[in-house]
Amino acid sequence: MAIEVDGKVLETDEEGYLVNLKDWVPAVADEMAKEDDLVLTEEHWEIINFLREYYDEYQIAPAVRVLTKAVGKRMGKEKGNSKYLYSLFPYGPGKQACRFAGLPKPTGCI
């Protein structure tokens, strides 16, 4: 599979995740969101950027449970809960947000 962003064709796996993490640019997230009928807001970007920072530091995409806890710690309890995160990423804050962020599928998501 592939996704076209800014005139460039980027390779994705069978679940739509980027094959090469280095291919990622913010427009990838916008394009993937469009395909999922979503428009990314500042609130979405807060989570996407957080995931990318997490990956930078630990070399893994966090499981959704871990993401929820970490968001709660960083951004407060009103955001660190699955209701809020699912309202942003209806296909699952772990899987969908990680895909938008150009990361692999979360480790520990089943």
Binding site: R65, V66, K73, T107, G108
Partner: protein, 136 residues
């Protein structure tokens, strides 16, 4: 899966690179941590090299996955036993290891050490107390 909480120990015996065991073990730990079991890790023999700090892997063309051990605390895996004799036999001390911690949500995210250095005899005792031991 049964509701009963079991004690799982992941026993790591091999050096981090050269074989896939160390990385596979870490992945299984992270995946298994989703199942609400009591998980601990043990590092013995060359396994102690897995958590040595300052790992550099550019020259061997492998991904340096040592930063991922720092994520274990986020996954509620905060019992890491390291065998003292294995460290000593390799000229290592606890100061050569990464400072791995976890944050206790119940105590306002107080940072606590995850690593506990134990003797060979204590390690044997820890292993016998487990319900399940995975050896990598």
């Amino acid at each position: 899966m049964s509701e009963e909480i079991k004690n799982f120990l992941y026993l790591n015996r091999r050096a981090p690179y050269g074989t896939i065991y160390a990385w596979e073990s870490l992945e299984v730990v992270l995946i298994g941590a989703a199942f609400d079991q009591k998980v601990s890790l043990a590092f013995v023999d060359d396994g102690v090299f897995q958590i040595v700090k300052g790992q550099k892997t550019e020259q061997i063309g492998m991904k340096n996955f040592s930063p991922t051990y720092s994520a274990l605390g986020d996954y509620d895996v905060n019992q890491l036993y390291v065998e003292r004799e294995s460290l000593e036999e390799r000229g290592l001390t606890v100061d050569d290891l990464m400072h791995l911690t976890w944050e206790d949500e119940d105590e306002d995210w107080a940072e606590k050490d995850s690593i506990r250095v134990v003797s060979r005899a204590e390690m044997a005792e820890i292993i016998t107390q487990q319900d399940v031991v995975f050896s990598f």
